[in-house]
Structure formats: C-alpha cells, structure tokens
C-alpha cells in the first residue's frame, strides 16, 4: 500500500491505496468525488478527463501516485459555490447536456483549451475536444457553448 497526499480542487487528501490504482479510481472511491466518469478505461472516450496542473489528462490511465504533488482539478472544483463557471452556464443555457455522462470530461477539456487559448476558432475547439466522445448531442450545442463561454470569459 502506498501513502500519498493528493491535492484535489485545492484540498489536501491523505490517501492510502495500492500503488497500481489509477487516479480515476482513487478520485471516485477514496476521495469520494464521483463526478469524474469511466466510459472506456482505455483513453478513448475522455469521460474521465481531469486537469493536472492545468493540463487535461485521462485519469483512467494515469496512476494516482503520479499525481502526488500536483494540483488535480475535477468537475467538482469548477463552480464557485452556486455560481457556475461560464462553461457550465453556457452548456446549460444552450442545451449542451443530454444524458450528462460525457459532460464533466467535456467541460474539463474545454477548460484546459480556454486556459491556453482564450480565443479559439471553431476548428481549434473541435481539435481541443476531439478526445471527448458524446453519443447524445452530435456535438452541435457543445461547440456553441464553448465558443460563447470563451467570449464571456474574455
């Protein structure tokens, strides 16, 4: 068993877990934040996307132990109390959510994109979100929401 301190959404969590455990499993089962989803366990769908020091990472394929000493941001860390982050607010306003299962990962990828590129073109949004699959929406309203959120954040 491995002892580690994970910094998740600005809180420090002392964790004891097998060194082979992936970050997704530890976030969901040890930290208790279940917003991050497992859709494929194979880096193909992006439902498990979290930010590590601001960079998007598929947490299903990243060891929890590797995240020690780095800042982990999950979907639970995005809103400021009851105030939704502009990405969340625009997804709601424009109808970017249907079943919601891909939504947390999609938003984390979008956050990483906008943090490094505040004025993305539609093409750049498509590239930034190409690691996140959604079966419900045909992506149309997600594209629109990310585009409008970028404007709002600027």
């Amino acid at each position: 068993m491995h002892h580690m301190n994970l910094d998740v959404n600005g809180m420090s969590y002392p964790i004891t877990a097998d060194a082979s455990r992936n970050l997704l499993s530890v976030l969901r089962n040890e930290v208790g934040l279940t917003g991050t989803k497992e859709g494929c366990d194979d880096c193909e769908c992006g439902a498990c996307m979290v930010l590590l020091d601001g960079q998007p990472v598929n947490s299903c394929s990243y060891l929890a132990a590797q995240a020690e000493g780095r800042a982990v941001t999950t979907i639970e860390g995005l809103a400021d109390g009851d105030d939704l982050h502009p990405l969340q607010a625009k997804m709601l306003e424009l109808g970017g959510v249907q079943c919601g299962f891909c939504t947390p990962g999609m938003i984390m990828s979008a956050k990483a994109l906008l943090d490094r590129n505040p004025e993305p073109s539609e093409e750049e949004i498509r590239i930034g979100l190409s690691g996140n699959l959604c079966r419900c929406t045909g992506y149309a309203k997600i594209l629109a929401a990310v585009g409008e959120a970028a404007v709002e954040i600027r």
């Binding site: 109808g95 190409s130 079966r135 419900c136």
Partner: protein, 784 residues
C-alpha cells in the same frame, strides 16, 4: 408567467450534471449496498462450439472468491424469446451456456469475489473446454441450413413455468421467424422495374455509460435493484417472473442513466442472474461492464439485408415496392424479432402514395450478439433502403430525384391517411417539407455547381442527396403520471417512463406549468422508481411525450379544476365563475383579477376543511392510453458531400433538414434530440459498423475500432422546422427522439453515390469508407 410550451427553457436538471453531483449507477451509495461483492463473467472465446466441460474448482479456491456458478447450476430461469416474441422455444438463451456457445462473449460462468480484482484473477482460473463448430456468419449460409445453430432438443432444460413450451421451433433450421404482407394492386403501367440489394450494417447502441447493476436482498426478503435501465417496471416484471416473487416485493430504481439508445432494455442474461448471485453469497452485488465487454455482449442493432424492387412508370410514378428483408437476429432472438411486424412492414410506403406492396421478412440466427433495439430500430434501416432505391430509379429513368419524390409524396389534404401497409399517418405536409429543404439548401445552385465541377474534371466532386421520412412512434399503449401540488405551491410530477438524456424533468415541468401556473423551477419530476408509481413502459421507440405528456396534462387539469372549487370557497363565489390565471398562478372570479387567491391559500383551504373534502384534491393520477393512435414525426433532408475520386475520401459539407416533430414543448431540447439522431445516422455512412471476422471474432470491441462520431466529423447542421399539430392526441404532440436518424443515413448515402453517378457508380454499400468508395470508382473504370 407566459406559456411554457414552445419555450426553450434551460434544463432544470442540468445543475447536477454540470457540477458532477448527478448520481449514475456507479455513483449510487446505499446502506443496503455496503460490503458489496463483485462479479466477473467468464465468456466464450469461440463463436460456435460445443461446451464440453467447465472446471471451476481452482477458481473456487482462489483468494477472495465467494462463489463460481456455471450453467449446470441452474440458478435462475432464462429470459426466453417466448416473452412476447413469436419465436420457438428452442432459441432461448440459457442464463449461462449449457451445451453449446453461440457467440464470442456468451457467458459460460460467473465468479463472485470480495473485490473486482479478485474476481478478475479468479475468472482466469476457470478452465473451459470448447469443441469448435463451424461458425455461421454469412446470411446465405444461415439460410442454407448447412450448419444449424439450434437442433431439436437444444432448448435449455431449466425453464420457467410460464410461457408456451409446446413448440420447439427448430423445425425451420436457422430461420427463427418469418412474416409477410402483400397488399394493393400493381398498376400495369409500371413498366420500369429497378432492383438493388441494400445492406444496413450492424451498429452498437454504445451509450457513453456502460451497463451496470447493483442489487441486494433486505431482511424481509425483498429484492432491491439499482440498474442503468430504460425499463425499470419491465425489468421488475421479468425479475418477478424469474424469481417467482410478487412485483410488490421487488424495488427497481434507475438512477441517472448515461444514455441508452436501445442498449439498456434489461433483457440480458447478465442482468438477470445477479440477484440470484446476491442470494447465494448473502451479500449485495455490483456489476458494471467494461466498454469492451459491453460492445462484445450487449445487444446490437440494424443488421438487415434488403433486396429492394421498385415498380414505376417511365415518367416517375412509383406504383409498387417489393421488399425481401433478411434480418440477422444474432444468436438468440430478442427484441429485434418483434420489429418486423411492429415497425418495419407498417413503414412500407414511407412518405409516398404507393399502390402495391409485397413485403417479406425472414429473421435468421447467426453466431453474433443478439440484435435488440437501436435508435430508429425497425424503421431507419428500411427507410434508408427505400430512399436509396428511389434514387436508383430516378437515375435509371433520367429524372431528378427531387422530381420523382415530388410526384409521389402523400398530399397533406388526404391526411390522416391509412396506407396499404396498414399504418395511419397523422397530419403533416411532406411535399412542403421537401420544397422547403430544397430551397433552404439552394438545390438548384448546388446542381449548377455540380455540373461545373464535373466539367472541370476536378478530383473533388460534389454530390447532393436527399431523403423524405416519416416514422411510427409511440407504438400503442400508454403511460401513467401522478401530479401533486404541495402546500408551499411547489409541485411534483411522477411518471413511469424514464429519461436517459431525454430532458423529461424540464419538458414535464413545462407541460404541468402551463396548466397549473406554477413556475417550472418549482416543479420537480420523479422517474425511474418502481416504488413511486405503479406502472411504466419507459423511453423506447420515441413514445414518452405522446403518452406520459398527455397523462401529466390531464392530471394537472383535474387538479386545476379541483383547485377552482377550493378557491371558490375562499372567494365566496361559484366555482364555475373562478378562473386560474396561469400567468400568475392565482385564482380569481371572472372579471375581477384584483381579488385573488394563490396555490398556498387553496392548499390551506383543502387541509382546513377535511369534513367537506377528500383531502387530496391537489393530487391526481392519470393513465393515458393512446389506443393505437400512433404519431408519425416527419421531415426531409439534403446532404452535400465532397468526394475525392482519387482517394475515395468523403467530406460532408452541409446537412440541411426540415423536421416536423408536431407541437414542440421545448425547441432547444428538440434541436438537441435531432442533432444526436442526425449524428447517429450520418455515422453509419462515414464508417460506424460492427465488424466480425469470418470466424466470428468481434473486431470492433473498443472505441478505437468501433467508430462513433467525434466532434470533427460534421459541419454545423442547418435545422428548420415545421410544427404540424397531430390530431392523434389532444395536445398535437408527435415525437423526436429517433427522427434525426431517419433522413440522415439515406440523404448522405444518396449524396455519396450522386457524387460519382457520372462515373457510372450505381450503388455503394454502407458504410461508405474511403476504401469502399475508391473500389466502386475503380470498378467502373475497369468496366469502361
């Protein structure tokens, strides 16, 4: 507060989804599930084999293992095809394989252990001896009966007491079910006969959340099941039958469900056995399948081969349609079997006025996964074949495909109309939808551009495709709803249908709000809980709005009428003079809005005068039965593609549609449903296909190999709307969940072929992968 129906309200359920608070099956925590054990299935590695032996002795002694169960243990009755599906008893899938395995991934044994990893490790120790049989993968081989999947006496020995066991069903070899319809008269002026074989390849529903179940028995002997399911009540009914328990002792909850698309109808053997395992080990059980496991053992859809024959006149009048459909049911007939009579044959005419139909369906078994439902099931594949043969006919007689459709579409002044296939279409204007989509797309300009491009000899040629559609929804039956207004003027709507991304919480609140005058934000919706409401069918076949939506409206109306009685007492007026102002949610006497009472006053009046009243006037349950008055959402689409004739690469440059979903409760939600359906339909042209090799191995078992659409496949869709009220229900509702699929596949498919028609290409099989497109071009070059 203005009318809510027709308003694009943001979804009231979204805050939980957007902040990670929504609870799906793997997020459910409950005291009954504390200390849950985990299961792993041992699955067949062969498509067709005799099961010689299963040795679980080593696995049983592995660390953490609580139980290992094999087919011979007969722990629970199987869910046979006898349950509402007219096929022989022999085709029943045993819960765990008994004498043969018939698809790669079929469960043979199941390991129960304290942790998931222990179960995985122990499953590796189960020794399965399989003696290979010849796999039946090819449709014609299946039809030839040279190798049989089921022989007389192959039915599982362990059967439930209910159901008809009198027929074995093996006498027809690999044909599990046949049906046909011949109707009308073929006009002798139909001198042009055009034929083509059109395949509609297998697809996997592939929702982003896999299947999952958590189950436990309580101290009183009641069974509790949390399941990612589209059908909590239907699942409960099955469990009641297999476990021989009254339904009232079974409690099924569907938490948030991460998409379904027909893939979560809960008829799989994996789902049925879990309560038995929980009983055996005396602990709760949790199971969530992996992505690969879901793709290799969940149900799939489509898998249909159409031999289409169109009879028409030389000047474009379609007189008759001949259809010979061979449908692959997979190894064990399931829900897919029901679709032929229930959904496919009724759609024989599409949106056209056709005088003669000759439709035969042969449902075969092959060594693949069971075919169940997938968005558009039973309708989309046929409409895709019909729209394809119409384009081939247009090409053969040298007429523009838009003109052929113009000449044959059903006219609006005849509607509602019963076609010779027996379907009664409700109000719509198919010709107007076609004209509008052609105009919005700029059809004539597109054709002119195509002529120029062809003349230039450019490598990138453009193709324009179109399709018209209507499709059967609701499929008979009804739904129950319960509405209650609370003393604090909030309301609760409970229904037996379920939402897996369908936005019911918002749409139901809008419908109730329009009657009650209560803000949608103050109306909560309860679904997916068998304890909350007595009956339910669920979200299958685009049916919730026209059934549950009506029940909610009717229950709300009853409450509003009751509330007027109570308000009349407070206002010291006759109830017939009291009106409910739905803008403000207040009651007043006609003509004197200044003196009013609200829902809080009315609720207080109800509880204050129990002697006079039942005390539940603000609570009402309604069952709405559509009595077979199905609704047929419709529309038309134009797709524009650019095909590189040197590489076969296809790029979709535009997709324009006009869709008539009837009265729209929330246009934003309607658009979202259409977008998703369109993406599903287009993906089938781009490359989405379940592929097995000749030995029956699944080659598309993950999202690298099974190509669902990603965000860079499509341009922005251009949506336009008609909104013709249906007379088949009082609110004019139709449906929208599956509509996007219907025209998307054939419009883009027609566009790809159209881009190459000047080269002599007549048809290309789906999906139109670059290789297949290039081969089609090369074949015409060789023959020229």
């Amino acid at each position: 507060m203005s009318q809510k129906t027709g308003t694009s309200l943001g979804r009231v359920e979204d805050a939980a989804f957007l902040t990670g608070r929504a609870r799906y099956i793997d997020d459910v925590r409950h005291p009954l599930l504390d200390g849950a054990a985990f299961v792993v299935f041992v699955r067949s590695t062969m498509a067709h084999a005799r099961l010689v032996s299963v040795d679980a002795s080593e696995a049983k002694n592995a660390p953490g293992v609580l139980d290992v169960v094999v087919g011979a243990d007969h722990v629970v009755h199987p869910a046979g095809p006898t349950y509402g599906i007219p096929v022989g008893h022999v085709f029943t899938q045993p819960v765990l394989a008994e004498t043969k395995v018939r698809y790669v991934g079929e469960p043979i044994a199941v390991v129960v252990a304290g942790t998931h990893q222990q179960a995985v490790d122990a499953a590796e120790l189960v020794i399965v001896d399989l003696e290979p049989l010849v796999p039946v993968m090819d449709f014609d081989r299946a039809l030839s009966d040279d190798v049989l999947l089921f022989e007389p006496g192959d039915a599982p020995q362990f059967q439930p007491s209910a159901g008809d066991h009198s027929t074995d069903g093996a006498e027809n070899g690999n044909i599990a079910f046949e049906t046909s319809l011949t109707a009308g008269d073929l006009n002798p002026d139909a001198t042009v006969v055009v034929s083509e074989r059109v395949w509609n390849p297998r697809q996997a529903p592939a929702p982003m959340e896999p299947r999952g179940i958590a189950t436990a028995w309580d101290d009183a002997g009641d069974l509790h099941v949390w399941a990612a399911t589209q059908r909590p009540h239907g699942f409960r009914a099955q469990l009641a039958e297999f476990y021989e328990l009254p339904e009232t002792n079974i409690h099924v909850i569907a938490p948030e469900v991460g998409g379904a698309f027909g893939g979560k109808v809960s008829r799989s053997v994996e789902e049925h056995i879990l309560p038995a395992l929980a009983q055996r080990v005396g602990r709760p059980i949790r199971w969530t399948d992996t992505r690969s496991e879901f793709l290799a053992s969940g149900t799939q859809g489509r898998a249909e081969r159409y031999d289409m024959t169109l009879h028409g006149t030389p000047d474009g009048m379609i007189r008759g349609i001949g259809v010979n459909l061979v449908k692959d049911l997979g190894a064990y007939p399931g829900v897919g079997t029901y679709l032929a009579n229930g959904y496919t044959i009724p759609m024989a005419c599409g949106t056209y006025d056709i005088g003669w139909v000759d439709f035969s369906v042969t449902c075969i078994v092959t060594n693949r996964i069971t075919v169940g439902a997938f968005r558009g099931a039973g309708r989309a594949p046929y409409l895709a074949a019909l729209e394809r043969i119409i384009d081939i006919y247009a090409n053969d007689i040298g007429m523009d495909p838009s003109d052929v459709r113009r000449r044959n579409l059903i006219q609006p002044d005849t509607m509602p109309v019963t076609t010779i296939a027996g379907a009664t279409y409700d109000e719509a204007d198919y010709p107007a939808d076609l004209e509008r989509v052609l105009a919005e797309a700029g059809y004539n300009d597109l054709r002119a551009e195509q002529v120029e491009r062809r003349a230039s000899g450019a490598a990138k040629q453009i193709g324009i495709g179109m399709a018209s559609y209507c499709h059967k929804t609701a499929g008979g039956g009804g739904e129950e709803a319960h509405v209650r207004v609370n003393p604090d003027a909030t309301a609760v709507v409970t229904t037996g249908t379920t939402s897996q991304g369908h936005s019911h919480a918002t749409a139901w609140a809008q419908i109730a709000s329009d009657v009650l005058g209560i803000d949608p934000a103050n109306i909560s919706v309860v679904e997916g809980n068998t304890d909350a409401i007595a009956s339910g069918i669920g979200a299958v076949g685009s049916r919730s709005l026209q059934t549950a939506g009506l029940a909610i409206h009717n229950a709300s109306t009853t409450i509003a009428e009751n509330a007027k009685q109570l308000a009349a007492q407070l206002l010291e007026a006759n109830a017939s003079d009291v009106v409910l102002d739905t803008d403000t949610g207040s009651f007043h006497v006609v003509g004197t809005p200044a003196i009013s009472v609200g829902w809080v006053d009315v609720a207080a009046e109800m509880t204050a005068s129990p002697a006079d009243t039942e005390g539940d006037e603000l609570s009402c349950g309604e069952y709405y039965n559509n009595e077979g008055r199905d609704t047929y959402p419709s529309g038309a689409a134009v797709a524009v593609v650019e095909v590189d004739i040197e590489t076969g690469h296809v790029r979709l440059t535009r997709f324009v549609s006009v869709d008539d979903a009837g009265i729209r409760v929330n246009p934003m939600i309607v658009d979202g449903q259409l977008h998703g359906g369109i993406a599903n339909g287009l993906a089938q042209v781009f490359g989405e296909e379940v592929i097995y090799d000749d030995d029956g191995n699944l080659l598309t078992s993950n999202f690298m190999d099974y190509a669902i659409a990603s965000i860079d496949w499509f341009p922005q869709f251009e949506l336009h709307h008609a909104a013709t009220a249906s007379s088949h229900n009082a609110l004019g509702f139709k449906a929208v969940g599956e509509s996007g699929v219907m025209a998307a596949t054939p419009a883009m498919h027609n566009a790809v072929v159209d881009a190459l028609s000047h080269l002599g290409v007549r048809h290309i099989e789906l999906p139109c992968t670059p290789e297949r497109v290039w081969q089609s071009i090369a074949a015409t070059v060789r023959t020229r």
